[in-house]
């Protein structure tokens, strides 16, 4: 009997606790919950924490300035969740946030986690802005709730294709991809744009995201004497690839996407990394319109910026700006305002196209010089 009573008591306690999480009336101010999801554990935890801090900084600033909706004071509260960069966990925490009653979400960090979660937000009508998911599929599913503030892979690939022909003067181009959604998507767009700009694609080769030996495909490419080799894939493949290009005595330039534009690439490729080119969506921090001011405010509170926190900050700002315009935190009401976004953020001017992608996003090119990535130049996406 005692066990039975205890169980009912626990159920009651859970119910009461559950109520506590709902938006509540508190005097004349009320609490509005906004979700943030990124990997807070695992190898990408530092990036995930960075996103969380970026979103939190935006919230804290807005709360400190005083935020009102419908004439009532509103306190914004951040609900931060860990998806461990895992698609399955991502859907679980997305559902959890929906159940807790968040009115919007900044996240997730990885495309692989963002895409499955986006269906849950869409089903429940919760607006979502990803700071850093770049896979095309995220916004091409036709979900009205899915937005992002970073240039996507297709836009990046298209900028690169045009850039290598028009700016680097490469006429014969060889393209390799790792057959992942990311690598292939990037390489396909790059190929289209390079051809449109008048370049000739002399070789299109493939590898996998597990491979370390590229001698055979590189030898075949070498026989076609390209001016440039483009690789759509990640740094564990890009690094041995550039090493093997040097081993084969290839003179062609090497260009990678953001998967290769990492410190790890230089660490793995060593001296052979010298001269390699790679791109990353967006602007380098010191070239962002609000970069230095953001850096000062962020670092005073959280320490060094890792990577995407300015984007998480902007995503949060854009979300709340839409609430302001709608004068409501009701997801259905302010979702209608998101397409009209025209916001000067830290990372640049943010406007969305019909799919929820950012228009006219920037892509920055980097080159390894003296064992470090140095900024070459920033190109605006035509799309």
């Amino acid at each position: 009997m005692a066990g039975h009573t205890l169980r009912w008591a626990m159920v009651a306690a859970v119910l009461v606790a559950g109520c506590g999480d709902k938006p509540q009336q508190n005097g004349d101010s009320r609490v509005v919950l906004i979700g943030q999801v990124s990997p807070l554990t695992g190898p990408q935890a530092h990036l995930g924490k960075d996103n969380e801090n970026g979103a939190r900084l935006a919230l804290d600033e807005i709360n400190a300035a005083g935020f009102t909706l419908g004439g009532k004071r509103v306190v914004l509260e951040l609900k931060s969740e860990d998806d461990a960069a895992d698609p399955k966990t991502a859907t679980t925490v997305a559902q959890k946030l929906v159940d807790e009653g968040v009115v919007g979400v900044v996240g997730h960090l990885n495309s692989g986690a963002t895409i499955p979660a986006s269906k849950i937000y869409s089903d429940n009508g919760i607006p979502q802005i990803s700071p850093s998911a770049t896979a095309v599929a995220y916004t091409s599913s036709g979900f009205r709730t899915a937005y992002r503030v970073m240039t996507n892979d297709a836009q990046q690939g298209s900028v690169l294709g045009h850039y290598v022909v028009a700016r680097l003067g490469a006429k014969k181009i060889a393209i390799i991809d790792d057959r992942t959604a990311y690598g292939q998507g990037l390489a396909d767009e790059m190929e289209k744009a390079a051809k449109a700009a008048g370049g000739e694609v002399v070789a299109r080769e493939y590898t996998s995201d597990r491979a370390t030996d590229f001698m055979a495909i590189l030898t075949s490419i070498k026989g076609k004497a390209p001016d440039l080799v483009f690789f759509g894939g990640m740094d564990p493949q890009a690094a041995p690839m550039i090493k093997q290009m040097k081993q084969l005595g290839m003179q062609a330039k090497f260009l990678g996407g953001d998967g290769a534009q990492t410190p790890k690439f230089i660490e793995l490729a060593g001296a052979d990394a010298e001269g390699a080119l790679a791109s990353n969506p967006g602007l380098p921090l010191d070239a962002m319109p609000g970069g230095s001011a953001f850096k000062a405010r962020f670092e005073a509170k959280y320490g060094k910026i890792q990577n995407y926190s300015p984007y998480a900050y902007d995503a949060m700002r854009v979300l709340i700006e839409a609430m302001k315009r709608a004068d409501s935190s009701d997801p259905a009401a302010y979702l209608a305002e998101l397409p009209k976004t025209d916001y000067q953020g830290v990372t640049g001017h943010i406007r969305f196209d019909a799919k929820g992608d950012i228009t006219g996003g920037a892509v920055t090119l980097y080159q390894v010089k003296d064992g470090k990535w140095q900024t070459l130049e920033t190109v605006q996406s035509a799309k």
Binding site: M215, S220, G249, L268
Partner: protein
């Protein structure tokens, strides 16, 4: 022509690495009729341990010549891998020697997963750069390029294979191994200490795996906790292609698989006019494997009963 020669070099280097790992599979299979799926992971452990030793040495005594540093890495990696091989045999295979043949196969897979996870816990999930300790020289050869590392890999594997054949054919241990391979029971009746012979097989196989792991890492310049899986799978296929249980077969199978992959990836796109690209390189390799097995179920050099190992 220069492209052809380059692909030949690529294929031979890749193939000799496969061959070295394939020997480990084939020796154990020859004697125990067991597919030691943990062998690929021992290769990975060899690379990781050597890497750790090289790192420690670089801190303790910087400025040593590269060959010496790599040698020191091997000197540490080989005993660790040998001990690991012996331990696996003792813990995971010997208690199951009279069990149905599926049981040790499952423990082999289990051991392989355990080793991967242990390596992940110790060294993390990241790719680790393998320092460029070997001379990075490059030589022109009729329009193709061959590097010092590639020459070293070719010479080392040839030497090891030669020694292994001599050992199996000419020494007492080799004779005991051949006898055990033919019939464990009869060999033990003739006074052969079967357990010792099996242990010796694991010792030799694991030492070869350690050498192969260090070579692969030095060649590609990186190591990773998962690197043993794919390498093990390819080497196992090479052993089957050549005829599993047959030493010469493992060498032939390894070299052949390396060459098929290299020429497949290099020429398949051009030969089919871009219809099939280089992502069909593995399909191509395994198609050859299936074709060989259809016509010669025991592999190229495999025979149904006669001597194994």
């Amino acid at each position: 022509m220069d492209i052809f020669l380059q692909q030949l070099i690529n294929g031979l280097v890749l193939g000799s690495v496969y061959a070295l790992v394939a020997l480990g599979y084939t020796m154990v299979y020859g004697i125990l009729e067991l597919i030691n799926f943990a062998h690929g992971e021992i290769t990975m452990m060899g690379a990781m341990v050597a890497l750790a030793a090289i790192g420690a040495l670089a801190l303790a005594a910087p400025g040593l010549p590269g060959v010496l540093v790599l040698g020191a890495g091997l000197v540490v990696a080989i005993p660790v891998c040998v001990a690991l091989g012996l331990l696996i045999e003792r813990v995971a295979y010997r208690p199951l020697r009279h069990a149905p043949r599926l049981a040790p196969l499952i423990t082999a897979i289990g051991v392989s997963i355990i080793l991967q996870n242990v390596a992940m816990l110790i060294w993390g999930k990241q790719y680790i750069p393998f320092p460029a300790v070997l001379p990075q020289g490059r030589h022109a050869l009729f329009g193709a390029n061959i590097t010092d590392v590639q020459i070293a890999i070719l010479l080392l594997t040839m030497g090891i294979m030669l020694l292994l054949i001599l050992m199996v054919q000419k020494t007492r241990l080799g004779r005991a191994m051949r006898a055990t391979a033919q019939s464990r029971q009869v060999a033990s009746l003739m006074g052969v200490d079967v357990n010792r012979v099996i242990a010796a097989t694991f010792v030799i196989g694991s030492a070869l795996a350690a050498v192969a792991g260090v070579m692969v890492s030095a060649y590609y310049g990186l190591a990773h906790y998962y690197m043993g899986f794919l390498l093990g799978l390819k080497a196992f296929s090479a052993a089957v292609l050549g005829g599993i249980g047959n030493l010469g077969g493992a060498m032939l199978g390894g070299l052949l698989l390396g060459l098929i992959e290299s020429f497949g990836a290099g020429y398949i796109g051009d030969l089919t006019g871009g219809f099939l690209g280089s992502h069909y390189q593995d399909v191509f390799a395994f198609f050859v494997l299936i074709a060989v097995l259809v016509f010669r179920p025991c592999g190229l050099l495999g025979t149904r009963v006669v001597e194994r190992a």
